[in-house]
Symmetry: C2
Subunit: 497 residues, 2 copies
């Protein structure tokens, strides 16, 4: 490119003519020199990237929800109030009692196992005395019978203990704890301890069997070698299992070398921050939305219900994601760090799932691991068809979901149970989609998962339980009536003066 | 896995004991066998994919906008009305006159070039007669002077012709066409023809120079060889340029072999479909939104204005994307196909741009090509600093934008011009971002582009021009007052009875 060469500028005409001689003709450049296609055409050589539209979507989502927040603030003002929480003294008392009493069932299970272990020690001693003759068929039969009789007794006590745990907690929550939040925490605690008790009993049963039949037994996992049965039946080992972030009992877990307190602190900070965010989202945005959906549900105005569910879905999916991160990433990682628990795989990348089946096996690994180890795998081992074993797992999971949602809200509607049962045909559909040709089965499956679970299932279920709660107790509508009556009374007094 | 082996089932206790001997211990499987990290932790070996969240975003966007559509319908009913279009007969008449008269300026340019070409032919003939002596310095000087005198005359007539085109169209639109839609179409047509006229004049000037100075001239593009100057100055060639989807004159363009009418039909179908979508979006969603923003702009309630702009931004970005696709993909491709025009690169993948500069050079290639060939490149060729040449291009582009927006809305506010000028500091910022380390400059630049252009710039500009229109004419507010007055009158009559 020519530039001024330091000389004083010549008169325009001459200098122009000169430069035109020096340079290419600027105005004749052949911009259109070859055939080319528009990049969005089907004829285009390659599809362009659309990563910019992802950024635009993020921005539009942020902006449109910011707008809704302004609108909400204009309409309702600040609804968040720390002192307004309406819970009864009785709820807190019963909640505390349950908090202290529920873990006792784990200790009762420990005592049962202690008795079984001492029985097993005696049996081993007897066998050693009798020498190595226990390999004869008659001895084997005798040993098996003896083991089975002991197991029946042990299983009976474990069954009574575990069932009592669930029954007591459930009936106290249903009858004596009005506040649904406190109730949910108590019920969740009871279910977790119940699952841990079951795992403790089942695992020790197999360990005991292996201990009693060393020659027939298949090798146990290498990791258990440092703490063989019955040495694992001790108080310290149980307490570790009590607090470990898992529902599966193992005599030995992979452990980390030390506690990183900075890591724990950051996770707890996340937990607190996210809890506040969820609280604000539900108090300021979800609560009025649920409140003004009630009359629509009452008259079954389906278009309005759809509109409310659509608005609720954004908030519910937001709260769900925050809650997932707070619980499975922040809380469980903090707990694992404090317990020096090595295996932190509490979830997989469930947000990418292309089949609803994969979602249920990856979003909540502690429960999945429990179901696989103590229900699915033993059932298949007994010769069940895998599909039947899977359906059994879903039925048990559905019952637990209903316990966790229906009991604290005092409305055992069966919606949570039905929701879990509804997963079975959905799994069939998304599994089928993967095999179809001509469509992007992965994306289609992922969309079905998001729509069914987060955009329809959750907000609809929340709305139904909220409506049932209001129909049964009507606390807020009563408050409204009372405040209206008060206003009217004041108004009358004012008019009389 | 063991399955039933066809034998009749044995009693439960025995068969269980047997199978336990046959299979692994199901309940002792070491689920937690090695240390693992949560996949969202910083410690995780690899970051998981988040493609599922992209799908969720798309769904949330669709659902939340569907909800807004239900809300809009509840509030306003159907606002779309085919017979209600309010345009004056005069607007249509003036529009038609402009539609027919504007292209005449292109034909006047043709006549000017025809005269110049015949003058050039005479000069060539004279030179041939004089033999090959025109290479002496004296002859060269004489030839250059003769060329420059001719060019000044030609440029004078071209200048008058092109300027008259813009002035006539602009003044007719501003003074006689009230309807902003018809006005915009007329002004756009005039600007396109103006650009084509300029390109025709500039290109032929360089071609003529090359023709007159064959020994000094640098080689012309190969593609022009099939139609050398002055053979290109003919009626058919001009008509092709008139309708070709480009603003750049070339004697020869890359062409396709035949017209695929199926392709044309599909593009036209897209064009019609998208036009209807844009019409519905603006009549049903944008119009009431703009309407009920007026009082907020009047009292300068900034939070409410921000809320309105946020709501408007989604619709405006939607209409913008549809409009872009309709014009640059569907319409121009259909026109190119009919004209057998080979170079279909009407746009680049501007949605991914990381710098505002790249956006302006890739979203509208016809104008970019014109600016680069006839303004930027000649200015740089004359020794201008590239930045100065760029700013000049933006100033000219700003003036054209103001003509296209300000004149048809009868409010030359300078907002469109200011918007173009505002791009210059934005370009500096996004260019700087690319060089920063520690941040993802590409994503940051892309976000700045979307925010500045689609989420703030466009809706704010639309709101300002709409407000200015209403302040000047107040057609809708008058209608409201009239309909209110009518209602009141009817009400009074009813009461009197």
């Amino acid at each position: 490119m020519p530039t001024y060469n330091g000389k004083t500028p010549e008169p325009v005409v001459n200098s122009t003519a000169k430069r035109i001689r020096e340079t290419k003709y600027r105005h004749v450049f052949a911009t259109h020199s070859q055939p080319r296609n528009s990049c969005l055409s089907h004829d285009a050589a390659k599809t362009p990237s659309f990563v910019g539209f992802r950024n635009l979507m993020i921005l539009v989502l942020i902006v449109s929800n910011l707008r809704l927040m302004i609108e909400n603030f204009r309409k309702y003002g600040v609804l968040i109030c720390i002192h307004c929480h309406d819970y009864r003294r009785q709820d807190v008392v019963y909640g505390l009692i349950l908090y202290l009493s529920v873990p006792c069932h784990l200790f009762i299970a420990y005592l049962i196992e202690l008795a079984a272990a001492s029985h097993a020690k005696l049996a081993t001693a007897r066998m050693k005395k009798a020498g190595e003759e226990h390999d004869t068929p008659a001895k084997q039969e005798q040993a098996r019978r003896s083991f089975n009789i002991t197991w029946r007794v042990v299983a009976f006590f474990h069954g009574i203990n575990a069932t009592l745990n669930l029954i007591i907690a459930t009936s106290v929550v249903y009858s004596h704890i009005h506040h649904p939040g406190i109730g949910t925490l108590c019920e969740l605690h009871a279910v977790i301890v119940w699952l841990k008790t079951c795992s403790y009993a089942f695992t020790n049963r197999d360990l005991r069997h292996a201990h009693l039949h060393p020659s027939q037994a298949q090798p146990l996992p290498d990791i258990y070698a440092s703490c063989p049965y019955p040495r694992n039946i001790n108080y310290k080992n149980l307490c570790y299992f009590w607090w470990a972030p898992t529902l599966i009992y193992q005599p030995v877990y992979p452990r980390t070398s030390h506690i990183r307190w900075g890591f724990v602190f950051r996770r707890l900070l996340e937990l607190v921050g996210l809890s506040i965010v969820i609280w604000i989202a539900s108090a300021q945005y979800a609560a009025p939305l649920l409140q003004n959906s009630l009359d629509k549900v009452l008259v079954l105005d389906f278009i309005s219900i759809a509109e409310r569910v659509m608005k609720l879905s954004t908030i519910s999916v937001f709260c769900w994601l925050c809650g997932f991160f707070a619980l499975f990433q922040s809380a469980l990682n903090a707990l694992a760090e404090v317990m020096r628990f090595g295996d932190r795989e509490f979830y997989g990348d469930w947000w990418n799932v292309s089949s609803v089946r994969t979602y249920w096996t990856s979003w909540n690994k502690p429960v999945t691991n429990f179901m696989r180890r103590h229900i699915y795998s033993p059932l298949v081992g007994r010769g069940w068809h895998p599909a039947a074993a899977q359906i059994t797992v879903f039925i048990i999971s559905g019952i637990l979901h209903e316990l966790l949602v229906g009991v604290p809200t005092h409305n055992v509607l069966g919606v949570a149970f039905a929701g879990m049962m509804f997963q079975i045909p959905l799994i069939a559909i998304t599994d089928m989609l993967q095999k179809w040709k001509g469509i992007d089965g992965k994306t289609a499956g992922n969309l079905i998962f998001w729509i069914s679970f987060c955009l329809v299932g959750q907000p609809l279920a929340a709305l139904l339980y909220f409506f049932a709660w209001q129909a049964k107790y009507g606390s807020v509508s009563k408050q409204w009536q009372e405040s209206n009556a008060l206003n009217n009374a004041l108004h009358l007094q004012f008019l009389r003066r």
